[in-house]
Amino acid sequence: MYKFLRLVQNENMKLFRKTSTLIMILMLIGAIITVGAITKYNGLQEDTDWRQNVKSETVALKQQLSHTHGNAAKALKKQIAVNEYRLAHNIPPLSNRSIWGFTNNATDMMLIITIFTIIIAGGIVSGEFHSGTIKLLLTKPVSRSTVLLSKYVTVLFAGLSFSALSLIGSWLTGGVLFGFTDLDHPALTVLGGKVVEENMLVHVLAVYGLDFVQLIVMATIAFMISSAFRNTSLAIGLTIFAMMGGQLVLQLLARYDWVKYVLFANLDLSGFFGTGQPPVEGLTLGFSITVLLVYYAVFIAIGWVAFTRRDV
């Protein structure tokens, strides 16, 4: 165990002393600050009468509902319920120009963070083969499984660090730009068919957490390809291609019943919470988690077998 932690320490030393990793961190911070500045100085003046907005939006939603079915209809109903709760309890929607509004919007950074983590996962094993340094790792009294696990843990740690940086960075940026005010503004969400008020921090953490599931799966795919084919470009290219093409594949396959067994139908768990909707009909949270775990186990097994069995 002690040896394992020292290996993780080694992997972190190698990763965070790379110029490319430092550039990723700078890009992330730069993106947050840029978006914040644009929101503050370049956005249109928001309408002050939020009640009128919510009312007209609700009317539009109801109209849409009359010709919608399935998951989409359920999602619309939840949005309508939230809007009505807003009006009844006098809770305005979060402004983009508020600390929590900005922090909430910045959860979109998870797309960039996922891509960065894929890039790290795709290079962390194959890079050692490319440079020949794999020999330094595998001629030491440590099992190959331990070496591989230390790298995997480091990938997830990097993803987690980026996410934490994004959360803290966007909250601070939001505070500096829009003032550390209205900190107890509640988020409205639907839980068990009822609208509930939620602490904003809990809400934002939940968004990051659900996106992190997707990050883990995509990083694991890149990691598996990196271990099996020892080729960084292939690992990064294939994984990002799959991530981008996944939704398209879903649309093409939507009419088949077995589409729910496709990985991409189960990646976005946020549909099961709040006012979201699952991408495919007939899914449940339990089913999606089961499918994800099966895929996950297969990816891990392929990467592990390839790394521990093959000649170097």
């Binding site: 002393r17 440079s131 020999k135 330094l136 790792l137 099992s143």
Partner: protein, 306 residues
Amino acid sequence: MVQPAIQLKNVKKTIGKKTIIHGLTFDIQPGEVFGFLGPNGAGKTTTIRMICGLMKMTEGDIYIFGHSIKTEFKRAIQHLGAIVENPEFYNHLSGYRNLVHAARMVSGVTKERIDEVVRLVGLQHRIHDKVKTYSLGMRQRLGLAQALLHRPKILILDEPTNGLDPAGIIEIRKYIRRLAEKEGLAIIVSSHLLSEIERMCDRIGIIQNGRLIDVQTVNEFVNADAEMTVHFIVDPVDLAIEVLKSTTGQQPARTGDQLQLSLEREAIPGIVEILVNAGIKLYGITTQKKSLEEKFLEVTGGQQIV
């Protein structure tokens, strides 16, 4: 009898349908420098990769102080320090951090020990520079430091003199002899440079096309056949040729006023006497043992060494 440091027992390696190593069997004793000699593509690196556990063998087994590299990998490998092929490092880290990286993977390496090996290989002035600024010779030295860090009892160096200048080669040779003689390490040095291996090894194994053709001590190897090449500087040359031809039955090779013959040591005084008695002026005699290289060519049937 002492336990051998390394034992190879009928080690075979087949990749696809091609057999690269055809059943190697040999032992290496503690304190011995073993030269692993063969032309490019003979299978030296493949054998070393199997000893280090990087490649699995198709058949046979390798024991390091009695521990099988197959079934007791960690216990076997801890006795071993190696540079396999080129000394490769994390170029974006300093030499020192590369050593810290290596130290974290083994047990019992202190900061003092790191400083000690850095001094041993004479890198103290550049150790905090990034490895990407190092010359090949410095990388080779850092490789040695990395391999020696955990005080292994066996050191494996795959073509350590490759690409080094003469001073670097002499330095590596010095380290190898010192480690074997003072610290009792068993050392395997592979090379296709015969003249190099002849000067640093106690015993040489010749490998060709994945087969061990011959294992001999360096002394045996060079002295196995006492015949040597003898050069005579004489005047008049033509007369000397005739005399030598009639006494030895060989046609001497001529270069200017030098004549060259292949003779046994014992025959030299007799020949000198005959030449002097025939009135030939003898300005000098030099003898030259056959180099290992010539021997090697004989053993391997004259195959070209690249």
